[in-house]
């Protein structure tokens, strides 16, 4: 009998939590090739091209450790535009960047972001809910570890979801 390993279960649970923070933009972008990033941008119609000369000074400043004052905007090179197309800024990336900068000698203090997260639940046991109907679930699927409450819900679970998340 195929059983989902603990590692795969953790991985699936993490992926599910990450999906809760997703915009539906990603799903649409995958569906059609014409949905490029640029489709979501609009031309503001301002005279000072807002798109150019924006991230160039930022990058330069960051590489010097945030101390340099702003200079005039600089035109982006083709390579920089390409780099930007490949990787948009993500919050996780920025957080990591700030943290690693603070580890270096003389860097800024570490961000309080991580320390501010609330600790684990205290004073109450974890509650288990049926993955099918949402009511209290005393049982656990032996193959994938999902919760279910009755024989009926277990039937639905095995037909629809069981082992699906590991492909």
């Amino acid at each position: 009998m195929a059983v989902v390993s603990d590692a795969e279960r953790t991985q699936a649970a993490t992926a599910r939590l990450a999906a809760l923070e997703d915009d539906d933009f990603a799903a649409v972008a995958d569906a059609g090739a014409d949905n490029s990033d640029d489709d979501f941008l609009v031309d503001l119609g301002t005279d000072d091209e807002p798109e150019l000369g924006e991230s160039a000074p930022r990058k330069r400043r960051k590489s010097r450790g945030g101390g340099a004052a702003g200079r005039g905007p600089k035109r982006k090179t083709r390579a920089m535009l390409e780099a930007e197309r490949r990787g948009p800024r993500t919050f996780a990336g920025l957080l990591e960047e700030t943290e690693s900068a603070s580890l270096e000698e003389g860097g800024p203090p570490p961000p309080a972001y991580t320390a501010a997260a609330v600790g684990p639940q205290v004073g109450a046991a974890t509650r288990r809910w049926c993955s099918v109907c949402g009511f209290a679930a005393p049982y656990r699927c032996v193959r994938c570890g999902s919760r279910f409450c009755t024989r009926k819900c277990y039937g639905v679970h095995t037909e629809t979801r069981c082992l699906k998340f590991v492909g």
């Binding site: 599910r16 923070e21 933009f25 924006e54 945030g66 919050f91 920025l94 609330v118």
Partner: protein, 400 residues
């Protein structure tokens, strides 16, 4: 220093609230996003999303990720349109100040690029970037009738911000956030919407691409349970059942809640309507705000966040904080939220402290209203950074 108008912008993860300093209500409240319907090339920006149009399969792109301004291109488009609409006719942005809310514990790199956007792309004369909790506390103190207690309500309080991207409990003293006491739950309205979307898509109708619609359903149908066990028993017996009529794209663009027993509309015969039936999802979804562990987030809920925040401040301040807990943010509007927070917070804090949870009249706009007061006061000129100062010193001042 400028002496012209000042724009107040509460840049939330879900909605931008924008208006002019000194006014009581913002001029515009609109989604902080750009959206594109599937298969179309037209992009709707900010307030254009509010126009009466079919919401189906509208893909939103948000500039904020986990509450922090990450995608500047999108934000620039949204702000550009909003500033144009709000600025008095003929007044250039260079005569204007801007009061902008920033998330708690903002990263220096983000402050840097935000200031750059405000001064270099939009050319404002001055900028005051400030966290929202003190503003919300000030707004609530202003709207509350004569304080029943001797305590000055604007001076000290615990602001619980149950927002779209995350939930914060932040102790505020004398108009400043006590940084060491801030506690965050990594779940917000967005996660709840996505969770509801996942549940209904599995259980009844597939709505994985209908985030905007699910958001509307969540606001119309969800409530915070006061007694989980009783509500679950009732739900099993068919209580709490609610029918939501889904949009058909012709006569009904947003969908609506159908009251049980109400007669079907006359047109029902020729256009059969699709109905989504909700049961325990109605309270199991907002339940995550209090028990994130239900879906496997290794964190306590918002009540625990508030208790930890209160425990982190000086013991002498604790009673003042707990007697003045203010709930703001979109999730606070969920019926039952305040009562549940009060009930859950009580056993978590020392029993000699009085616990009182309050909600401003409009929890979503409270931060904006406080910002409007601040921007109209001389305090703004004292704290704001002018463009000249920015050009001289760069953006590093914002961290101070």
């Amino acid at each position: 220093m400028h002496d012209g108008t000042c724009i107040v912008l509460d840049n939330g993860g879900a909605n931008c609230k924008i208006g002019l300093a000194g006014q009581r209500q913002p001029l515009l409240v609109f989604p902080n996003a750009t959206g594109k319907a599937k298969g179309e090339r037209t992009v709707y920006v900010g307030d254009q999303l509010l126009e009466d149009r079919d919401l189906s399969s509208l893909a939103l792109r948000r500039p904020l990720e986990r509450g922090y301004l990450v995608n500047e291109e999108v934000e620039r488009a949204v702000w550009g349109r909003a500033f144009k609409a709000v600025l008095p006719r003929g007044a250039p942005a260079s005569d204007c100040g801007l009061l902008l809310t920033e998330p708690l514990l903002n990263l220096p790199a983000i402050q840097d690029s935000t200031a750059q956007m405000v001064f270099e792309d939009f050319g404002f004369a001055s900028l005051l970037a400030t966290p929202a909790p003190p503003l919300a506390l000030a707004a609530w103190a202003a709207e509350a009738p004569a304080p029943a207690c001797a305590l000055n309500r604007a001076a000290a309080g615990l602001v619980v911000d149950a927002g779209f991207s995350f939930m914060h409990a932040a102790p505020v003293l004398g108009g400043r956030v006590l940084g060491g006491g801030v506690r965050r739950v990594n779940l917000g309205g967005k996660a709840l919407t996505n969770y509801l979307k996942e549940l209904v898509s599995y259980r009844s109708v597939n709505m994985m691409e209908e985030t905007a619609l699910v958001d509307a359903i969540k606001e119309a149908a969800c409530f915070v349970s006061g007694d989980m066990a009783a509500d679950l028993t009732a739900a099993r017996a068919g209580g709490h059942r609610l029918e939501y009529v889904l949009p058909n794209g012709v006569t009904n663009l947003r969908g609506y809640v159908r009251q049980p027993g109400a007669p079907a509309p006359a047109s029902a015969a020729d256009t059969p309507e699709q109905v989504l039936v909700l049961g325990n999802e109605r309270f199991m979804v907002p339940e995550l705000a209090f028990r994130p562990s239900d879906i496997g987030v290794a964190q306590g809920g918002i009540a625990q966040a508030a208790a930890e925040a209160a425990a982190a401040v000086h013991p002498d301040l604790r009673p003042a904080m707990l007697a003045n807990v203010i709930v703001v943010g979109g999730l606070a509007r969920c019926p039952g939220f305040v009562a549940r927070l009060q009930a859950e917070l009580r056993p978590l804090v020392p029993d000699e402290c009085e616990v009182a949870v309050h909600m401003p009249a409009d929890p979503m706009l409270a931060a904006w209203q406080g910002g409007s007061q601040l921007a109209a006061s001389p305090e703004y000129a004292r704290r704001a950074v002018t463009r000249a100062e920015y050009e001289e010193r760069g953006a590093c001042f914002l961290a101070a």
